[in-house]
């Protein structure tokens, strides 16, 4: 990755966090912590890796993304608008009665390939898309993004078996492994033990990387494209609330809304990061 690309992606990722913060602050509801942990993953996917056409969001040959952790729409919608799927001004209507930008991801929003929100269902849908790609001899890739807590849903492992059985090497599941869920650390609520061992045992190719290192994410996604005969799981090690000091690794920010003072403080931190990148 060259310097210009790296700088551009970093700016986009920080801007995504600023936009997500503004969306949640304005709506006075929404999920900041998981949106911040997934922001870098979405940035690399939509601005570097995925083959999409914002002018033709339902183009049949496009790469597809299933945002299985469907509550992280502040990040997803911010990135989709940034990529040009719909006007950024519309983000100000997030979670409003008259808006199409509702709390969880919906297919009526340009760029959203699958409606999600009920955890655990997205990997199955992604398998369906990948199977359709195989049936049609299409060369698109299907990406799905899951929270680590979401992997407690049994349906995920039903889908994991499906992907291995049908050798869905056009499917890449990315785990936003931020180690926290609504009620606390995943290790306390319901331990997942080794995700690498689990996915390997289910017949997947597993790649682990730093989920906030844009180059590492890019490299992992490139490696995934080279894997043949197996689906790929990327365990992206992330920090919930990444980017704002007092939100990082704090489960309070799963679904809570900042006070006016907290909002200002968070915004200043993110703006300072942006200035630093811009030099």
């Amino acid at each position: 990755m060259d310097n210009t690309t790296r700088t551009e992606l970093r700016k986009k990722a920080i801007n995504t966090r600023i936009t997500a913060l503004n969306m949640v602050n304005r709506a006075q509801s929404g999920h900041i912590g998981g949106s911040f942990s997934v922001a870098d993953i979405l940035t690399v996917l939509y601005h570097k890796v995925m083959n999409v056409d914002p002018q033709n969001p339902r183009w049949v040959g496009r790469d597809r993304l299933v945002m299985s952790k469907g509550h992280c729409t502040p990040a997803l919608y911010a990135v989709l608008a940034q990529r040009g799927f719909f006007p950024e001004a519309e983000l100000a209507t997030f979670r409003e009665t008259t808006s199409r930008l509702s709390g969880h991801a919906e297919m009526n929003v340009p760029g959203v390939d699958m409606s999600t929100g009920s955890l655990g269902q997205g990997l199955s849908a992604a398998c369906g898309m990948a199977l359709a790609g195989k049936l049609d001899n299409a060369d698109y890739y299907v990406y799905s993004i899951h929270g680590d807590g979401e992997l407690q849903e049994g349906m995920i492992w039903e889908a994991a078996m499906t992907a291995a059985k049908y050798q869905l090497d056009n499917l890449v599941a990315i785990i936003d492994d931020n180690k926290l869920q609504l009620d606390g650390p995943t290790a306390e609520v319901m331990p997942l033990y080794s995700l690498e061992d689990k996915f390997t045992a289910f017949g997947w190719h597993v790649i682990t990387c730093d989920g906030h290192d844009l180059e590492a994410l890019d490299a992992a996604l490139m490696e995934a494209k080279g894997v043949k005969g197996k689906p790929v799981a990327i365990i992206a090690e992330t920090v919930k609330g990444k980017g704002v000091s007092f939100m990082e690794n704090n489960v309070h920010w799963h679904g809570n809304v900042p006070s006016a003072e907290e909002y200002e403080k968070a915004l200043l931190e993110l703006q300072a990061q942006l200035q630093e990148v811009e030099g």
Binding site: V60, R64, V66, E106, M107, D113, M114, S115, G117, S118, Q121, G122, L123, S124, A125, A126, C127, G128, M129, A130, L131, A132, G133, L135, D136, G154, M155, E158, A159, M161, T162, Y166
Partner: protein
């Protein structure tokens, strides 16, 4: 009497035939292809057949993903597991985004027989008719199943097709029979009482009508293969013209056809009515016909109920 055919068997043949016309049909099963009769399709079109093992929730989710890519995804299991276990997946991954998925529920109702209560789904019509965007069909015989499945495939959007295990008499094998989505069928005329049926209770109602004629009671038979969207007009007209409605279904009296009809009558044309179905109880193991008799889902009970209600009407 014509050969008895299970609706699931008729479905299996219809599926194979339609798959020859439509390359987009993809069939998904959960380790029950010999029972759901998708084995015929699987043998002919192995590349379009996916057996996803004993995992119905995933089956429905995969169907949703296939549908987003333009496939007509047909997901099969026993009603208990397709409509029951995967209910939330149907609601959120299929019906909410209004995807073109056909959910097939075979082995519905008491007539499953000896497998008993865990496999006798008596709640599926109630579950799925409350889900927006969903169409719910429960055919009576082979002819109706064939036409209904064709209509389900032609319809763009989610459909639940409820089928039975038991071989049943074919009663719709007439020249003029046409299945139309959302339309009820005036099967027999009559002005004294209307028996509204769905599924295999049509056959029982037709037999009951013959017996009631001997009493001088002329029962209209209105058959409802599509429970949602419901043909309200044919029900309201029957209420106006006969003044007494009896519903008959192989389903809990709560939530199914009887409830749907009661809702229409209460709002549009209140007349006396009674629901025949299972009375908020579970089934059990047994010979299908013995179970149907014990739970009141047969000709004899329809005759008894009609006589009782007709006596009140004419008192």
């Amino acid at each position: 009497m014509a050969e008895k055919i299970a609706t699931r068997a008729a479905y299996g043949k219809a599926l194979l035939e339609l798959a020859k016309e439509n390359d987009n049909i993809v069939v998904i099963d959960a380790d029950l292809c010999a029972c759901t009769k998708t084995d015929l399709f699987a043998a002919e079109f192995p590349e379009r057949y996916l057996n996803l093992g004993i995992a119905e929730s995933n089956m429905v989710g995969v169907a949703a993903g296939l549908a987003t890519c333009g496939k007509v995804a047909v997901a099969n299991s026993f009603a208990m597991f397709s409509a029951g276990r995967a209910f939330e997946q149907i609601r959120n991954s299929v019906a909410y985004p209004n995807l073109n998925v056909k959910i097939i529920g075979t082995h519905a109702g008491l007539s499953v027989g000896k497998d008993g209560a865990t496999h006798q789904c008596l709640e599926d019509i109630g579950l799925l008719r409350t889900v927006p965007n969903m169409t719910v069909i429960c055919p009576a015989d082979a002819v109706e199943t064939y036409q209904a499945f064709r209509a389900a495939v032609e319809h763009e959007g989610p459909v639940y097709l409820r089928l039975g295990r038991l071989a049943v008499e074919t009663v719709n094998d007439t020249e003029d029979y046409r299945f139309e989505l959302g339309k009820g069928i005036l099967k027999k005329p009559g002005s004294d009482v209307t028996i509204v049926t769905t599924g295999l209770m049509l056959q029982e109602a037709l037999a009951a009508r013959e017996e009631l004629l001997a009493d001088g009671i002329e029962a209209r038979i209105v058959h409802i293969p599509t429970i949602k969207p419901l043909d309200e007009e044919i029900i309201v007209q029957a209420a106006k013209e006969t003044g007494l409605i009896i519903t008959a279904e192989e389903h809990n009296i709560l939530g199914g056809l009887g409830s749907a009809v009661a809702e229409v009558l209460a709002e549009k044309c209140p007349v006396p009515m009674r629901r025949i179905g299972t009375n908020d109880v579970f089934g059990k193991s047994g010979e299908p016909h013995e179970l149907m008799a014990e739970y009141g889902l047969n000709k004899d009970n329809i005759v008894k109920v009609v006589r009782e209600e007709y006596a009140k009407k004419t008192a």
